[in-house]
Symmetry: none
Subunit: 411 residues, 2 copies
C-alpha cells in the first residue's frame, strides 16, 4: 500500500517580487520541484486568510467552514485532553491579577504571569480543588507550554455561545463570562464559568507556590484567563474517512491538536520546539520512521511562520536554508511507494507580518505525476507548474487518486 | 487606508489566435501587465456566459445566483428610481402599435418608436394620468436614454412571476401579461400590469406630441413594451459589506444601476456616452478624483462590448488603442496606496458578436503583489501570469486581502 508524507512549512510563502523562499539557497527543495508536479494552492479559497488551524483542516480534506468551531477544542486536544464531541473547550493563560474583592473586581497586570513555566502544581491544585458536580459538569484542566493551558467542560446543556474572561489587555479587569445567545444553556454555562473563575482564583492566589513567587518579587500566577471557546465538533476520524493511519509530527500544540482531534497519533520528537532552534533532523528522521507504521504522515515546521510574523526576512530565508539541508533524505524516498508533498498552510509575508490570503507553492513528488518543467520551489516558479492553481480541499482527493486509493464516481 | 480602482473594459476579450486586444498597440496597458500580477478570470464560472449585469455583480463579490433577479431592477436603479427591496421593476421601450381595439389587439410596428429621444412629456403624462391606488399599488415610471425607460410597481402581494408584454418582434401583437405561477399574487400583478398597459396606451395614443409626430410622418410612441421583470432583491450595501465607500463611473444605465443598487455613488461625467465617442479622458480624471473621496472606484468603459457585438475587429482594436493613450495617468498612481485592477466583465468576441464564456484577462497592480514575467496585457499572455485562473467572485477576497482589509478565518 502506498504511503503519503505531507510536509507543511507554516507560513512559508511571501509577497513581493523577491521573497525569503525565492532568494534562499535550497538545492534539495529545488530538486523536488524538478522531480515533481508543481502549482500554487489556495488553502481555503483565493484571498481568504487562513489560520494555521483552518488551513491544516483544509489540507487534510476537512472543510473548515463545516468542522472548525474555534481554537479551544484544537488546543485542548493538543494539550493531551481526550476531548469528546460536545465538550466546551477553552485556551487558558495563567495571568496575574491585583486588587480587592471578587476575581472580577481585580485588574490584570500580566497576561502571562511573568511567563511562568512550571505550572504542574498549580494545575493539580485547580483540578483537585474545584468541584462542579452540583452543576452536573465535569472539567479537565491541562497545562500547555509555558504559561498556557487548556480547559474542557463536559456535561449536558452546555453552550459555547459565551464570552471570554480574558480581557486581552493588561490594565483591564477580568471579564465576567456572559451568554452570547438568549437561551438557558448559554446562561447556565456562563454561570458555571464564572463560578470556576472565582474558585480557581481563590485556590491559586493562596497557593504556596504563588506565595513563594510573591516573596521572590515574581508575579503570582493567580488567575486563569479563558479565550477561544468552542464546542468540540463531531469530526470523522482521518482513518475512517481515508482508510489511512495518520501520524503527526509537530512542535506546536495546535498542530498536535489537529492530529489528535482527527484521531491520529502524535509522535513526540525530542527537541521539536516549534521555533527556529527546532530539531529538524530528528523530526525528518521520525517522519521517515513513521512511514513504516503509518500510512499518512504530516510533518510540520513552524519557525517560518514565526519569522514571518516577526518581519524577519533574513531569519526566514536562513531557516528555509536550514530546513533544506535536512531535506536530502526526502530525495531518496522510493517514490513508487511514497507520495511526498511539500507545501504550506498559508503565507506569512515578512512585509505583512500576518497570515495573508496569497496562495502557497506546492510540489507533489510521486511516480506517475505529470512532471512539469518547474525547477525551483518558490512562489514565482510554482504558478507555472502542471497543477496550475488548486484549493486546499482538493489536495486529499488529488493525493488519494495518485496513490490509487480513490473511489471512482460513476461507472 | 488603501484604496481600489477597478477598471472594467466591457466585453474586452476575444476568441481566436489574433484578437483586437492582442493586436492593439497599447504600451500603457502592457506596462501595467509588467508591473503587476496577471491571470485569466472566469467572471462567473468557466464557460458560463455572463451578462454585463451578472458579470459586474460577480466582480464586486455578489454571487449573481443569489442576488440577480433580472435586469429590470438594475435598469430602474440606473434610471434614477430609488428602488426598494420587494419592488417589481421592468425595462421599458416606447414602441409603436397600429390597429383597432384594445392595446392587446394591436400590432407592434416599431419596437423603438422611430428611436424617439425626447420622451419627457410622455413620461410625465403617464405618471400623472394613471392611478393604481384602487389596487393598493404605487408606480414610478422614468425615462432612460433614447426610447428606453424603467417602470417600478410598489405594493403588497406583487410578484415577478409574470410574462413580458413586449413581443420582442415587430409584426406581433402586444402580449397580454400572464402569471407564470399559480398564485394569487402573480395573477393579481398580471392584472395590474394589463390595466396599466391599456391606460398608458390610451394616454400616449392621443397625446399631442404623438399627434404631432403622426403629422410629421413619424411613428407614434404610443405603447410601453415591458420586459426584464424582476423583484428588487435584498442586497447588502457595498459599504456595509466591505467597509469601503463605492463610486461608479459609467456611461451606461445598467452599470450605474449596479452602482446604485449596491448603495454606491454614481459620478456623472460630461460626455460619458457608453459608446466609442465617449469622454475617456474625463472619465479617467473623474476616477482619479473619486479616489480622494471614495475607497473603491469602479470605472467602466462600454464601447469594446458594442464593437464586439458589431463584429468590428478594427473598430474594437482602435478603441482599445484610444483607451490606452489615456491610461498613462494610471501608471503614475501611488501603488503603495492604491490597488489598480484592469479587467473585463466578459468576452464579446467579434467572431461571436455576443457575450461568450471565454475567460477575461486581469492584471492587479499593487505594492507587494507577486510580480510575474507577463509583459503584455492580452488573452494569450495573461494565462501565463501568477494569478493563473481565478473566478470573478474571488476578486474581492483577493483585493481586500492585498489591501489589508480581510478578516482571518481561524487562528
Amino acid at each position: 500500500m502506498k504511503k503519503v508524507l505531507l510536509v507543511v512549512i507554516d507560513g512559508l510563502s511571501d509577497r513581493g517580487s523577491k521573497t525569503p523562499l525565492s532568494s534562499a539557497k535550497k538545492p534539495n527543495m529545488d530538486r523536488l520541484a524538478e522531480m515533481g508536479i508543481n502549482g500554487i494552492m489556495d488553502t481555503i479559497a483565493p484571498g481568504v486568510r487562513p489560520g494555521s488551524d483552518t488551513g491544516h483542516l483544509a489540507l487534510l480534506g476537512y472543510d473548515p467552514y463545516e468542522y472548525y468551531t474555534g481554537r479551544g477544542p484544537i488546543e485542548a486536544a493538543g494539550a493531551g485532553i481526550d476531548v469528546k464531541p460536545g465538550d466546551i473547550a477553552f485556551r487558558v493563560n495563567f495571568g496575574t491579577v491585583e486588587g480587592e474583592g471578587s476575581v472580577f473586581d481585580k485588574v490584570v497586570v500580566d497576561r502571562r504571569a511573568g511567563r511562568i513555566s512550571d505550572t504542574d502544581e498549580l494545575v493539580k491544585a485547580v483540578n483537585e480543588g474545584i468541584d462542579l458536580s452540583e452543576f452536573g459538569v465535569e472539567f479537565v484542566f491541562r497545562r500547555g507550554s509555558g504559561h498556557r493551558g487548556a480547559l474542557v467542560f463536559r456535561g449536558k446543556n452546555l453552550s459555547d455561545k459565551i464570552t471570554d474572561t480574558d480581557p486581552h489587555k493588561v490594565g483591564e479587569k477580568v471579564q465576567r463570562c456572559r451568554p452570547l445567545s438568549d437561551d438557558e444553556s448559554a446562561r447556565r454555562t456562563a454561570k458555571i464559568v464564572n463560578y470556576f473563575m472565582e474558585k480557581a482564583h481563590e485556590i491559586l492566589d493562596r497557593h504556596p507556590l504563588n506565595e513563594e513567587r510573591a516573596k521572590k518579587g515574581l508575579p503570582k500566577a493567580n488567575v486563569l484567563l479563558l479565550r477561544g471557546v468552542g464546542r468540540v465538533p463531531h469530526i470523522p476520524p482521518f482513518e475512517s474517512r481515508y482508510g489511512m493511519k495518520l501520524a503527526v509530527i509537530a512542535g506546536t500544540t495546535l498542530i498536535k491538536g489537529i492530529g489528535r482531534i482527527l484521531g491520529g497519533d502524535v509522535i513526540e520528537v525530542e527537541g521539536a520546539t516549534g521555533s527556529k532552534n527546532t530539531n529538524v533532523k530528528g523530526k525528518i528522521e521520525a517522519a521517515l520512521k513513521a512511514l513504516e507504521t503509518h500510512d499518512f504522515v504530516l510533518l510540520h515546521f513552524k519557525a517560518t511562520d514565526e519569522l514571518g510574523h516577526d518581519g524577519d526576512f533574513e531569519g526566514k530565508r536562513e531557516f528555509i536554508e536550514k530546513l533544506d539541508t535536512h531535506f536530502e533524505p526526502l530525495l531518496k524516498l522510493d517514490f513508487s511507494k511514497v507520495c511526498l508533498i511539500v507545501t504550506a498552510d498559508h503565507s506569512t509575508p515578512v512585509t505583512a507580518k500576518e497570515h495573508t490570503g496569497d496562495p502557497v507553492p506546492i510540489v507533489i513528488v510521486h511516480e506517475g505525476v505529470r512532471v512539469d518543467d518547474v525547477k525551483s520551489f518558490d512562489e514565482f516558479s510554482a504558478c507555472k507548474g502542471g497543477l496550475c492553481r488548486i484549493r486546499g480541499l482538493d489536495l486529499m482527493n488529488i493525493v488519494t487518486d495518485l496513490i490509487d486509493r480513490a473511489e471512482k464516481f460513476g461507472a
